[in-house]
Subunit: 214 residues, 2 copies
DNA sequence: GTCTATAAGGGGATAGAC
DNA sequence: GTCTATCCCCTTATAGAC
């Protein structure tokens, strides 16, 4: 693409962020060159440095922005968490699925490129992730304390649920047989069952022929 | 490391595979240079080409080997699947967790570096992954047909469960307060509950047709 | 089987003109 | 704000000596 007459800085900056997000998700941070980004944006490589300090700064900004947006959206969605942990959990699951569908690139980058962040940048992103996950953990802890949820180990259950929910971005594309609402329903159902105190437990089922403990 | 007297080809080949697995997992395929691998193996960069055709061949071999090993282990573990889907599901969950703990590097590479595989290599790995996931899907379908499992959408439930289980490799390291056995127990419990027909459903809240407690 | 040396090309980032 | 040109370094892979 050649330089377009009338292009301005703010527009180019946003185009740059979107191009980098797509390219990093598709090929990986290390595999994407400044020349590739410049070609996608439609400027010469050197011009990119009007909008970013370095390639690392660009990665950090994309990841921090994603996490801050996620936290802000959850805070706006549930400024006053429902006192019923079951209701709060259902709200969290629907929010998480809904927020992540359509942000597949940012989600993928936020998991895969952690290793390419320099230590200070990693610490910042890691702290934001911890803040978000603690919202779910507190719901599970409250539910367990009240006896309305079954979560003997809340930290582990938190990670298990987050992994299950976020995994939807690995395959769901919205163009298949299921709508985003269908997905929300299925995952909400599975999550609520997974921590339901009325479900059949898995461990106390008599003999376990599957145990492979040596 | 300098060349060691008495080193031989087979030993170097295995050292190369292990070094590449660790480095690819830690820094990413694109960020790892042949020089880094050679330094880790203890040879000069050019000598690596006695053991591999190219860097891409090395990545494909690592990923295909991981998937083939996984499939072979499951086939050996359950050559004759239990006719009771609940028992079969419990066996699958325990197998999956147990097999993946200790293989964090291979698991991470198998998910993160799919995008760096050339089309033919990607197709091969993708097919192997599909074969493995179908083992779980069939269990869920059988269980739903018999009414002993709740899985209204078996393909989606399969992906949700695999994501939840594999997610354990993102954080579990064995040196914390929980043992691998503890993790197996927790995830087996959550998975069985998630597809239990006796759990409280998530969508029709307020009614609880299956509660065992008044 | 491993070494040294090198080919051929791409990498991030900067300088200075306009 | 964007361009052209460039610095200096690293990349994968190969050639040929030993």
């Amino acid at each position: 693409m050649a330089r377009r007459t009338g292009s301005n800085g703010a527009q180019t900056a946003e185009t740059l962020r979107r191009a980098a997000l797509t390219l990093f998700a598709r090929h990986g941070y290390a595999a994407v060159s400044m020349r590739m980004i410049a070609a996608e944006v439609g400027v010469q490589p050197g011009a990119l440095y009007n909008y970013m300090g370095s390639k690392q700064d660009l990665l950090r900004d994309l990841m921090v922005s994603h996490m801050e947006e996620l936290l802000a959206a959850w805070t706006a969605r549930a400024p006053d968490p429902d006192p019923d942990p079951v209701v709060a959990l259902r709200a969290f699951v629907r929010f998480h699925i809904r927020h992540h569908i359509g942000r597949e690139d940012a989600v993928f980058i936020s998991y895969m490129e952690l290793r390419n962040l320099e230590p200070d940048n990693f610490a910042a992103v890691h702290a934001l992730r911890g803040a978000y996950e603690s919202a779910l953990r507190v719901i599970l802890e409250d539910g367990a304390a009240q006896g309305v949820l079954h979560a003997p180990d809340a930290p582990v259950a938190t990670r298990a649920i987050i992994s299950m929910l976020t995994g939807v971005t690995n395959w769901f594309r919205g163009s298949g047989r299921l709508s985003a609402d269908d997905i929300e329903d299925i995952y909400t159902d599975m999550t609520l069952r997974a921590v339901s105190p009325t479900a059949k437990g898995a461990i106390h089922q008599g003999e376990d022929p599957c145990s492979t403990h040596p």
